[in-house]
Structures are given as C-alpha cells and as structure tokens.
Symmetry: C2
Subunit: 127 residues, 2 copies
C-alpha cells in the first residue's frame, strides 16, 4: 500500500514546524507523542478525545505533523504507531523543540489562575 510520506531531515523547515505546532490540537498531540517512549496509535490521544475531534480531522492533523517532520507513522497491523522525530530535529535545529515544549508547559501552568486566555484567533471556538 501507499507507504506514507515522510520528509528527509534536510527538508524539514522551521516554518513547517512552527506552523504545525501553532495549532493547539496538533501541539497537544505532539506533546503526548514526544513525552512518551512508547508509540501511540492515532486514536489514543486523551487530549484529542476530550475535545471530540473527529477522525478525519485527526487524520489531517497527523498528516501535517508527519509532513512537518515532527513525527513518524508506521503501520503495525491495522493500527498506526506514531513516534516522534525529536532526536533527528534536535541534531538539525538544536534546542528548538525543547524550548517550545518548555514554553507550552509554562503557558499551561499559568492557565488556571483566572486567566481569560489570550486571543489566539482560531484557537478556541471555531466553526
């Protein structure tokens, strides 16, 4: 079957990475993947589940993450194992991913204390 495109690490761009992670759903998916050593299937994402993201949208998000070079998807039987490509990216763009993850963590922490949340344009309620 069609073998699922992944860019070589030299073709990975900063723009692509930033674009992929500028979406809150994709960002939380990526954090899940990057934060575990075991590989996750496309449907096993608590963060995405909570938000009731439909299957087709989820599939698109995974495609964007793959195209950006952030994750690698491998078919294992009927389901797909997703693993991060952090190590490769770290070699090409040292410190980039860790600092983004750190920033996201800081933002999440400060979210509880009465924060009205900034205007992320399309982040909150869309459609």
């Amino acid at each position: 079957m069609k073998p699922l495109f992944h860019p070589s690490i030299e073709d990975v761009t900063v723009e692509g990475i930033l674009h992929a992670l500028s979406d809150p759903v994709r960002a939380s998916i990526f954090l899940d993947i990057a934060g575990t050593t075991s590989s996750l299937t496309c449907s096993n994402f608590p963060s995405a589940r909570e938000q009731n993201v439909p299957k087709s949208t989820l599939s698109q998000h995974f495609k964007v993450l793959r195209d950006a070079g952030l994750i690698r998807g491998e078919r294992h039987g009927v389901e797909m194992k997703n693993v991060s490509r952090c190590a490769e990216i770290e070699k090409r763009f040292p410190g980039l991913i860790p600092s983004i993850i750190r920033a996201k963590t800081i933002q999440k922490q400060g979210k509880s204390h009465g924060g009205a949340g900034a205007k992320t344009k399309s982040a909150s309620t869309r459609r």
Copy 2:
C-alpha cells in the same frame, strides 16, 4: 487616533507566536527587528522589499506580529517605529525566541548547497 492594540505580556500565547513566525515574510521581518537596536519603519525592510510584498499585505503582517506580542509599534510623526518585545517574551517564555532565531539562521545557512527546498505548503509560491 486609534492607539494600536498590543496584548499584555500575560496574554501572549505560544500558539500565537508560532503562528506569526510560521510565515517566511513575517519571520524575516521579525528577524530584522529583533536583530537591531534601532527601530525600523514598516517600509524599510529589505527582505520584504525584495519579495515585492504590497503595502496592504505588509500592514497585515505587522498587525499579526503585534497581535502575537512579538513587536510593538509606535507612531512617530508620519511613520511607525517598530521595536521587538523580545525582552518581555524572554521573561515569560525563556529561550523560546532565541532558539527559533537560531534555527532560522541554521536553515538559511544550509539553503545554498543545491537545496531544492522543502515543501512548506504555502511558503514559496502562493496564489
């Protein structure tokens, strides 16, 4: 006149920053601003000039950068001085901006040696 909106630093989001910098034109504009101590007017951007970006589009890009909290625009007479808010952001999200700038620099350096350029979706030729 209308005093030009700027978010307070607590309302600045990682998503907003990443989205703003995921566009190559905006990114190069921001690099110009962040890389100099003197403030720049909206029209004095070699990077934008070269690419023939029309005035209205440029204005939109500056608005996105302002809304993301990356720059501050102040009217001085008939023109606008743009200065970066790197120091503020550095306090809120330590290391984020520097690592992005570093990554962009790495990417620019490696661009010459026969690189076909990755597929940044909308990066190159749009419309």
